[in-house]
Structures are given as structure tokens and as C-alpha cells.
């Protein structure tokens, strides 16, 4: 049996004495888009950072395509990552930055030529290809990070709030690319606050609240879990994170 693209068991992440992620477990299978949902500060970004090797977990078993995270170089070669806060090398141009990333990934010109051409055109970066990243808007920086993550055709894509800052056109392109990526057997794990996107795009979702996984499965499965046949993912989300009544109270308080 093939190892799943992502296997997380009993993940714990600590910042000093603060537990950011508490015993979280989930798997992402081939051909799946897995959405990680949760309120601000729930532990989504920490979980994704552990997967990309940016954070060291306090404990837990994490494997990417059957390889442990300690096999860092091999694991990182298989993945593409778009961070939540896109902090690239400001003084470089997108061309220079992508060349740097391609060098580290040991890609050669012929291997990526056509793909890069298509990605740059799709994300409308041609106009800014030789402009320093410092002078780009947030959305255009996001596009540079997305192109860098997709350039080497990774098997696993890890995207932290990838749609924030993107225009409608690029947002649509990215969603189509993700669907195409999983149709070829790849896997995607991404965090988002946009419930409609998660509902439409994700094969399965995991809801994290205060560092704990409070619900996981398909949207249909979660509807059954919260006993709501019609509820949208937003309602499910508010219910499993126990924020539904809080929303009403807050609105009343604000109106008063």
C-alpha cells in the first residue's frame, strides 16, 4: 500500500509553556484537497509550518509520502509551500528570486522553461517580472510565492491562506490548478478562512480550535456530526468551534 502524502499523529507544538497545537492527528490522501479550518490563533499555521520544516514539533509522528520529517531534504523536495505572510527577498526581482529557488531545488532551465512561462502568464506576472519584490503589491507578492511553489511540479502543495490578496482572476486560476493537481494524483493541504472556498474545493476538512482537532471529515460527514442537514460549512464551523452563540451575543452587544 502506498504511503499517504501526509500523515500526522499526535502532533504537539509548544512556544515556551504555551501549547499551540495539542495532539492533532490527520492524514491527507493522494488526490485529496484537505482544508484546515479554524479561528485566528487556532494552530493552523503552526501545523503547516511543522510540515514544511519551519517549526520543530514538541512531539508527534509526521510523515510525508512515508518519509519522516527528519529526512528533511527529501521531504522538502516533494513539496511546494506558500506561507501565510509572504516574506520574500525584497531586494530581488521575481525573476531573480525564482532563479534562486530553482537553483536550491536543483532544477534546470529546460525542465522548467515551459512551465514557468505558463505560470507567469497565468498569474499575470510578466509586467512585474523585473521589478523588485519590494515594490510589488501584496497580491503580486503572493503570486510570486505561488509560482515558486508550483514551479517544480511538487507532489504535495502546502498553502497557508493562499487566496488572501489574490484578485478574482488569479484566485480562479489557482483553484483550477489545485483541482488539476489532485486529479493527477497529487495532494493539497491548505488553510483558509473562506468557508465557501473550503466547501467547494476541499475533499475533506479538519477544524482546529485552540490547538485541538474538533471536527474532521467531509462536509457531509460534518453536517451529520452537528446534526444539521442544511447547514453551510460556516455554520458547521461556528458550531464545532462553539462560537455560534457567541456571534449572536456579540452582534446584540454591538447593536446595543
Amino acid at each position: 500500500m502506498q504511503a499517504p502524502p501526509v500523515l500526522v499523529e499526535g502532533l504537539v507544538v509548544k512556544y515556551g509553556s504555551f501549547i499551540a497545537v495539542d495532539n492533532v492527528s490527520f492524514t491527507v490522501g493522494r488526490g485529496e484537497i484537505y482544508g484546515l479550518l479554524g479561528p485566528n490563533g487556532a494552530g493552523k499555521t503552526s501545523t503547516l509550518k511543522v510540515l514544511t520544516g519551519l517549526l520543530k514539533p514538541a512531539s508527534g509522528r509526521i510523515e510525508v509520502f512515508g518519509r519522516p520529517l527528519s529526512d528533511e531534504v527529501a521531504v522538502k523536495r516533494m513539496m511546494g509551500y506558500v506561507p501565510e505572510e509572504v516574506i520574500l527577498m525584497d531586494s530581488l526581482t521575481p525573476r531573480e528570486f525564482l532563479e534562486f529557488v530553482a537553483s536550491i531545488r536543483r532544477l534546470n532551465r529546460d525542465m522548467i522553461g515551459m512551465r514557468l512561462e505558463k505560470l507567469v502568464s497565468a498569474f499575470q506576472l510578466r509586467e512585474y517580472f523585473d521589478t523588485p519584490i519590494a515594490a510589488l503589491s501584496k497580491g503580486n507578492r503572493q503570486k510570486v510565492a505561488i509560482v515558486a511553489a508550483l514551479m517544480h511540479e511538487p507532489q504535495l502543495l502546502i498553502l497557508d491562506e493562499p487566496l488572501i490578496g489574490l484578485d478574482a482572476f488569479s484566485s480562479r486560476i489557482l483553484k483550477e490548478l489545485l483541482t488539476h493537481h489532485v486529479s493527477k494524483g497529487g495532494a493539497v493541504i491548505f488553510s483558509t478562512h473562506i468557508m465557501e472556498v473550503a466547501e467547494r474545493l476541499c475533499t475533506r476538512v479538519g477544524i482546529i480550535n485552540r490547538g485541538r482537532m474538533v471536527g474532521e471529515g467531509t462536509v457531509e460527514g460534518l453536517r451529520k456530526l452537528v446534526k444539521s442537514a442544511e447547514g453551510s460549512l460556516e455554520e458547521i464551523f461556528l458550531r464545532v468551534t462553539e462560537q455560534e452563540s457567541g456571534v449572536q451575543e456579540m452582534v446584540k452587544a454591538l447593536e446595543a
Partner: protein, 554 residues
């Protein structure tokens, strides 16, 4: 808004600008996160404030020290008093000018590039008050050194020459100089930001333009370095200049102000021509300072309302890239970043420029070179060679720091620490070899007999230099991980000191062995053999250390 409120608000804005200049806040990758983040960031902010205050106090102290030292220096005491006043004031004004420009450049660039007005303008504060806050903030950048120069330089002059009119003239000279210094700093910062940061990659012409602006930006740093290193030589130089071109120099800043100070001190009006020229040129400089001041105020208050970082849109025809091996990718990236960052660029070229400056300015370097034509180096030259070698060891912390600024992305790449160390070692060694090549070329002109031994020493020492850079980089990575401390290396020396000491030891051992063997055996061949053996041994050990240690991703 009353002035005290504006001054109080400007403190917050000033802190933000200083923080950005030291830590590139937007880069964020190395800032503490999670549970203890608040404490950690608060500690960083405090440390930045202390550092900036410390650097301002050091600068003020240095201006004060130079003021007292210049006016009472031996060279001046031996001269005619009237001329001594001219030379002393001219030298001192040059020192104030270069130091202010040097100190102001880094923070002024952050001031220009920061978008402080972006969070001030949406607040219920009038645009006039936003301008005032920005102006107050700008004054805060320079406050202590400005006041120190205004107080100490005229006072030191007044005490040395017992003249109140002379002292007041010097005070006016310092005011004019400070206006010029601030104008130059802001002008360079604006040019740097608009031409270098916004100017994209692409054509060779743009690359040349970037290099040109970078050199303009870096020159004041090295002038200041020369000024502080050779203050007394400068007085002698000015003396030599004025003797040959005295009438012409009366018209030139800062000599015109020096002549005027001398005139008002000694009230010597025997030569009406000199008096007329001196007063006339002073009035011209005063008018120029007034104009510069107006320009400065207009630019400083306008900074917040102009978008300096507007992206230029030029559709590119082809989007191909040329990736190479990972180490080459890192080296190319470092050079590109250096071509757009003056502080980074200056650190890279410092070993080479220092070699050039010292080779030409130290008169003793080649003074008795003819006695050393049989395989030995004169001691000053050996010392300069060793300094060039050790200066290169300041590069690894700066080079590593560039990786940590975007760690939140770079950390996800399959980049091995070993590759990183290799890339930084190659770049640092290239800088070392360039500075040695420059020293050899200068020696070829000034003392051809010493070229072969110098080239041999430089070549052999490459092994120990490579070893020391590897050891230092490895220790830096072990000590800090990905969070290499940002900011000015000299202000955060304590953080780097242990790896630096180890690097220095590795680099110094072969030179010491060479020197001891030279003293004990008086045989150049034996000394060079010892140097070769120790250097190669160190090199092999460093390679072994790098290969054997389990080094995962950066």
C-alpha cells in the same frame, strides 16, 4: 496639536523607523513567535533603542573628542596661530560633515523607505500635523550628535583661541555644515531608494546605474573612515593644499569658513582681498545652506505623502531563468542583494577598500622595502596583510543574516547547511583573494621586490582563510540556527563574538607560526613551509568537520 504633543508622538514613529532600520520588521522571519513573543519582541525593541541611543552617544563623544583633539594637536601647535585656526576649523567641519552623513545614511534611508505616514494619515490628525510629526521624527534621528557638535566644537575652539567672535563664527560654520550633512544624507537616501531599490534587474545598463549609485552611497562611509583614522594627517594635507592654492581655497567649503574663523579671531585685515573673498564666500554658503534647509524641510515632510515604492510596469518578452547549482544560486542571490543594499555592499567591499586606503596612506608601509628583498616582508606590510585576512572574517555573520531575513520562506526549501556554508565560504574567500590581489598590485608598483613573497603568503593563507570561514560559519549556524541576529554587526558584536574569536584563532595560527619560525630560524623557506603545513592541516580538518558532521537543512 501643540509642540509637546507632536514631540511625544514623534517618539513612537521614531522607534518604529529605528526598529525597521535594524531588524527589517517586514522580514519577520527571525522575530519570536507564540507564547513568549511579546516579551521577546519587547526585549528586541528595547535592545534596538539602546543600540541607537548608544550609537548616537558614541558619535557625539567622538565629535567632542575630535574637536578637542584637533584644536590642540601637535601639528597645529607648531604652526602660525592664524593658519592653525584655518586648518583646525576646516578639518573639524569636514569631520562633522562626514560623520553626520555616515551616521544619517542608514536611518535616513529607513526614514525615506518607511511608510510611517500610511498609518498616521488615516488618523484624525491634520496633514500639517503629520508633517510636523515627521519633521520631529527626523530631528530625533540626529538630535544628540547635532547638539554635541553645536556645543563642543565652538567651545573647544573658543578655549583654544580665547576668542568669542571666533567661537561664534565656528558655531555658524557648524550650523551650515550640519545643514549640508543632513541634505546630503537625505538626498543620497532618496536617490538610493528611487534609483536603486525601485530600479529593477534586467538590463546591464540598470545594473551599472545601481553600481554607480551604490558607490556614491558608500563613498561617505569610507571618507568618514579615512577622516577618523587620519585626522591629523588630514590637517597636514590641508596645510599642504592651502600652501599651494590658498586664494582659491578661500572660496571653497570648508576652508572659507576656516579663513573666516581665523579672521574673526585675530581680526587681521591687512589683506582686504582675503577678507572680501572670505566674507563673500561665507555669504554664498550661508545662502546655499538656507536653500538646502528649505529643500530638506520640504522633502522630509513630503516623504510621507509620496509613494516612493510605486512599481514600474514593463512587460517582459521572455521569462526564462538560469538556475545553476545551489551554491551558485546562493552566491548570485547574495551579490544581487548586495548590489541593492548599501550596508551589505559596503561590508563586502570593505576588506578591499581598506587594503587600498591603508596601502596608500601608511607612509611606513614600504619605507624600508629595499632591505627586505630576500623573501621577508617588512613588519607593517605583514601587519596589513594579516589585517586584510582577518577583516574577511567579519563577512560570514553579514552573509548569513541575509538568509534569516526571509527564513519563513527559505526555511521550506531543500537547502542543506553544508551548501550554505560552501556558498558563504566561496564568496568570503573571493573577497579575501581580491583584497590580496589588490595588495600585490600596489606592492608591484611601490616595492616590486616584495611581490613574490607577498603573493606566496597570500596564496598559501587561502587554505587557512577557507578553514576559518568554514569554522566560523558552522559555529554561527550552531549558535543561532536560522535566527542570525540582524542589524549592524558592530552594534551587536557581543552576539557574534565567540564564533568570531574561533575564526580569528584559526586564521591567526598559521601567521603566528610563520612569524615565530621567522624569528627563531631567520629562514624564509622554513617559515613558508611551516605556514603551508599548518594552513593545509587546518583546511583538511575544516573539510573533515564539515563532511563528518550531520548537517540537515538550514
Amino acid at each position: 496639536m501643540n509642540p509637546s504633543e507632536i514631540w511625544r508622538l514623534s517618539r513612537k514613529v521614531y522607534r518604529e523607523i529605528v526598529f525597521q532600520s535594524y531588524f527589517s520588521l517586514r522580514a519577520g522571519g527571525t522575530l519570536p513567535q507564540g507564547g513568549d513573543a511579546v516579551k521577546g519582541i519587547a526585549a528586541l525593541v528595547r535592545s534596538v533603542e539602546v543600540n541607537s541611543m548608544f550609537s548616537k552617544i558614541i558619535m557625539a563623544f567622538f565629535i567632542g573628542f575630535m574637536g578637542v583633539f584637533t584644536f590642540s594637536s601637535g601639528v597645529l601647535l607648531e604652526m602660525d596661530r592664524e593658519l592653525a585656526a584655518v586648518y583646525g576649523v576646516s578639518s573639524m567641519l569636514s569631520i562633522v560633515l562626514f560623520m553626520m552623513v555616515f551616521m544619517g545614511l542608514q536611518v535616513a534611508t529607513s526614514f525615506v523607505s518607511s511608510r510611517v505616514a500610511e498609518f498616521l494619515t488615516p488618523l484624525p490628525v491634520s496633514s500639517r500635523d503629520v508633517s510636523k510629526i515627521l519633521l520631529a521624527c527626523f530631528v530625533r534621528i540626529f538630535d544628540i550628535p547635532l547638539i554635541a557638535a553645536l556645543l563642543i566644537v565652538p567651545l573647544a575652539y573658543g578655549v583654544s583661541y580665547c576668542s568669542i567672535p571666533g567661537s561664534l563664527t565656528v558655531l555658524l560654520g557648524v550650523v551650515i555644515t550640519e545643514v549640508f550633512a543632513l541634505t546630503i544624507a537625505v538626498f543620497l537616501a532618496l536617490s538610493f531608494y528611487s534609483k536603486v531599490v525601485r530600479g529593477g534587474g534586467g538590463s546591464a545598463w540598470r545594473m551599472l546605474m545601481r553600481l554607480f549609485y551604490m558607490l556614491i552611497w558608500v563613498i561617505p562611509m569610507f571618507l568618514m573612515y579615512m577622516v577618523t583614522s587620519f585626522a591629523i594627517q588630514m590637517v597636514s594635507l590641508m596645510k599642504a593644499l592651502t600652501q599651494s592654492l590658498s586664494y582659491l581655497l578661500i572660496l571653497l567649503y570648508p576652508f572659507s569658513l576656516g579663513f573666516l574663523a581665523s579672521l574673526t579671531t585675530f581680526l587681521n585685515i591687512d589683506n582686504p582681498g582675503i577678507v572680501a573673498l572670505s566674507v563673500g564666500s561665507f555669504l554664498i554658503y550661508l545662502a546655499l545652506a538656507a536653500y538646502s534647509f528649505k529643500w530638506l524641510i520640504r522633502e522630509v515632510v513630503g516623504i510621507g505623502f509620496e509613494s516612493l515604492a510605486a512599481a514600474t510596469r514593463t512587460e517582459v518578452k521572455e521569462v526564462s531563468i538560469n538556475p545553476g547549482p545551489p551554491w551558485l544560486g546562493i552566491v548570485k542571490k547574495d551579490l544581487r542583494m548586495a548590489s541593492r543594499s548599501p550596508s551589505y555592499f559596503s561590508v563586502l567591499v570593505m576588506p578591499v577598500l581598506q587594503t587600498i586606503i591603508l596601502s596608500f596612506s601608511l607612509s611606513s608601509l614600504y619605507s624600508d622595502a629595499s632591505r627586505f628583498s630576500t623573501g621577508f616582508l617588512p613588519f607593517p606590510l605583514l601587519l596589513l596583510f594579516s589585517t586584510s585576512l582577518l577583516m574577511v572574517l567579519l563577512l560570514p555573520p553579514v552573509l548569513l543574516n541575509t538568509e534569516s531575513t526571509a527564513y519563513s520562506y527559505v526555511g521550506s526549501l531543500p537547502l542543506r547547511k553544508r551548501t550554505l556554508i560552501l556558498a558563504k565560504t566561496i564568496l568570503s574567500t573571493t573577497v579575501y583573494l581580491t583584497s590580496i590581489l589588490v595588495l600585490v598590485l600596489i606592492t608591484m608598483v611601490r616595492a616590486p621586490g616584495l611581490v613574490s613573497v607577498l603573493a606566496l603568503l597570500g596564496g598559501i593563507s587561502t587554505f587557512s582563510v577557507v578553514a576559518s570561514i568554514m569554522v566560523e560559519t558552522l559555529l554561527l549556524l550552531r549558535t543561532f540556527g536560522q535566527a542570525i541576529p540582524s542589524g549592524n554587526i558592530y552594534l551587536r558584536f557581543h552576539a557574534y563574538i565567540i564564533p568570531l574569536i574561533f575564526g580569528f584563532i584559526v586564521a591567526a595560527i598559521p601567521i603566528l607560526v610563520y612569524f615565530i619560525m621567522l624569528l627563531l630560524s631567520a629562514s624564509s623557506i622554513l617559515s613558508i613551509i611551516s605556514l603551508t603545513v599548518v594552513s593545509i592541516l587546518e583546511f583538511l580538518m575544516a573539510i573533515l568537520l564539515l563532511v563528518r558532521k550531520s548537517l540537515a537543512c538550514f
